[in-house]
């Protein structure tokens, strides 16, 4: 596979006037292949936005290299900009007094495209983002979701190989987020762009990305395929369905042995969710339950979700 984005030892320290510099990104390295869709995850302040803005040339890196399809971004910034576009602040990347079409024409022009040559693509984007009815409405009159879709379309009109999306669904209601997610999914499925996406919305990442890079405290802590992470988590995550309720002593005994175990119950059932690293631990749980005369109705692998995996990674629970 051809690598189109390569970040090598990227470090960013923000200078502060009367204090020690803040280390926002600490020797981050990763690469993204052509047409790959990669999620950049991390808690607030982890360094995601700084990484994305360094790649976009908007923040000067302290050290390290950023290669955009053979061009080192810091040495040849103009050439690098031919290869990358970004959606950075949701609905704030557009001109509110212009209509969607005018915005698209303006950003195409700023990229150096002649409007008449990209007219067909502008029409296509208006269609794809369902903006046809609002084509002649000022962007400020659009809903936040529409504005965000327009901002994404404005990033796409630049027709760059690499697309950086920083929190593309931030602040959107469930319905609009779902709609935008579908557009991103369609784009990803078409395989037209290489996308690096940062988001707190794990549904978006799980839905769209093939791979995730998790950053914590400015460092890459995990870089793996979403499917691999899911598999890894699924192997160790069990759900026990029990008849009736547990007595207090039994609950305490289980929690003493497995501190991270989670208990929940309905009227007639109790559920135990536990990460059991070794096979023998499964039998240990069963032995404790048997000793307490609890009837086990079923044992299954718990369906993992990316949010839990992410939390486990960030808390350092998943090695």
């Amino acid at each position: 596979m051809e690598t189109v984005l390569r970040v090598k030892d990227l470090t960013k320290r923000y200078p502060r006037r009367r204090d020690k510099p803040v280390m926002a990104v600490d020797h981050v390295s990763f690469s993204v292949d052509k047409n790959e869709v990669v999620g950049l995850l991390g808690p607030n302040g982890a360094g995601k936005t700084t990484t994305i803005k360094c790649i976009a040339g908007l923040i000067k890196a302290t050290s390290g290299e950023i290669w955009l399809n053979g061009v080192e971004a810091q040495r040849q910034p103009k050439k690098a900009m031919e290869r990358v576009a970004a959606l950075l602040e949701g609905n704030r990347n557009i001109y509110w007094r212009l209509t969607p079409r005018e915005n698209l024409e303006f950003f195409a022009g700023i990229q150096g495209h002649q409007v008449r040559k990209v007219k067909a693509y502008i029409d296509e984007l208006i269609e794809l983002f369902d903006l046809k009815d609002k084509e002649k409405t000022s962007a400020r009159m659009l809903s936040r979701g529409m504005q965000q879709k327009l901002a994404l379309a404005c990033a796409l009109i630049r027709q760059t190989e690499i697309l950086l999306l920083d929190e593309p669904t931030l602040g959107l209601d469930v319905e609009t987020s779902y709609e935008l997610r579908n557009v991103l999914k369609e784009m990803a499925a078409r395989g037209e762009r290489t996308i690096l996406l940062s988001s707190h919305d794990m549904h978006v990442v799980q839905d769209i990305c093939e791979r995730v890079i998790v950053i914590n405290n400015g460092r890459v802590v995990v870089d793996d395929r979403v499917a691999n992470l899911m598999k890894l988590f699924q192997v160790s995550a069990y759900r026990f369905e029990l008849e009736g309720h547990l007595v207090k002593e039994l609950e305490m005994k289980l929690k003493e042995r497995f501190p991270l175990l989670a208990l929940s119950s309905t009227d007639h059932r109790t559920y135990i969710d536990a990460d059991l690293v070794e096979g023998s631990e499964l039998y240990e749980v069963l032995d404790i339950l048997k000793a307490g005369n609890i009837q086990v109705k079923s044992i299954g692998h718990k369906e993992p979700n990316l949010e839990e995996i992410f939390l486990a990674i960030v808390k350092g629970e998943l090695k």
Binding site: K53, L58, I59, E105, F106
Partner: protein, 259 residues
């Protein structure tokens, strides 16, 4: 062609704003004209009561006011413009142009200037009709002279725009400077030999020689024209360099997208 595409994009956006927000355009012209009327009738009352009593001062006011109109837009395009782009979150998008932010800004300035020529021309016609003084409008001499004169103001605009990138809230300084520009234009050129070192001062005098003295650009003293070129180049260059300096700080501190 790619550079032209950037310029055309900037020109189109200015044209759309001018047309769509016609009320804003009209009120700008009307406000400028009202300010002129206040200055005109105020000066006339002080000097005797009729336009004839004002002599060459009246023509000087018209020329000075025209230069100030150009200077205000030139200054505002960069300083206030930079703040507006940062506020609406489009500044970073402009930075990402492969043609360079420098070219994007120059295109913006040029587009503003072209649109501004029309609005200032309307104000100028209104001023001349009011005063009854029809000045020489030798476009071929005036356009390069006006451009040279306000190039220094673009330098000041770049400097203030750079400050805005780093310090964010610089509106008070911006407003004060707008009035300092009036001093550069209105202060008598003969006050001191150092007047020619100020921005706008020498240029306004040369524009006056074309509009009032009915000279052409080629008839102006070559030494003065060359001095104006050098003066504007220094202010523009210094302004642009300081802007690049502040831009570098803003990029280092990650402030480009902040407001």
């Amino acid at each position: 062609m790619r550079y032209l595409a950037v310029f055309m994009a900037q020109l189109k956006i200015r044209y759309i704003y001018l047309k769509r927000y016609y009320f804003d355009t009209i009120s700008m012209i009307v406000t400028m004209f009202i300010i002129f009327l206040l200055i005109f009738y105020g000066s006339m009352a002080l000097m005797g009561g009729t336009p004839a009593d004002m002599g060459e001062t009246l023509e000087g006011i018209v020329v000075g006011f025209m230069v100030w109109s150009f200077a205000l837009v030139a200054y505002g395009t960069l300083s206030w413009g930079m703040i507006e782009e940062a506020q609406q979150g489009t500044l970073e998008q402009l930075y990402m142009s492969p043609l360079g932010f420098g070219w994007v800004t120059i295109s913006r300035v040029a587009a503003h200037f072209i649109i501004n020529v029309f609005t200032v021309f309307i104000v100028l016609l209104l001023m001349m009709a009011t005063t009854g003084k029809w000045l020489n409008l030798d476009i071929l001499s005036l356009i390069p002279l006006v451009l040279l004169t306000i190039a220094g103001v673009y330098g000041i605009g770049f400097f203030m725009g750079g400050l805005a990138l780093v310090f964010k809230r610089v509106q008070s300084a911006l407003q004060i400077l707008q009035f300092v520009l009036v001093i550069f234009i209105a202060a008598p050129f003969g006050w001191s030999p150092f007047m020619r070192f100020l921005p706008l001062s020498l240029g306004t005098r040369l524009i006056g020689q074309v509009m009032i003295g009915e000279q052409t650009l080629l008839q102006l003293p070559p030494g003065d024209v060359l001095f104006l070129v050098g003066n504007s180049a220094v202010y523009f260059g210094l302004g642009f360099l300081t802007f690049k300096f502040f831009e570098n700080i803003a990029r280092d501190r990650g402030l480009l997208g902040h407001y």
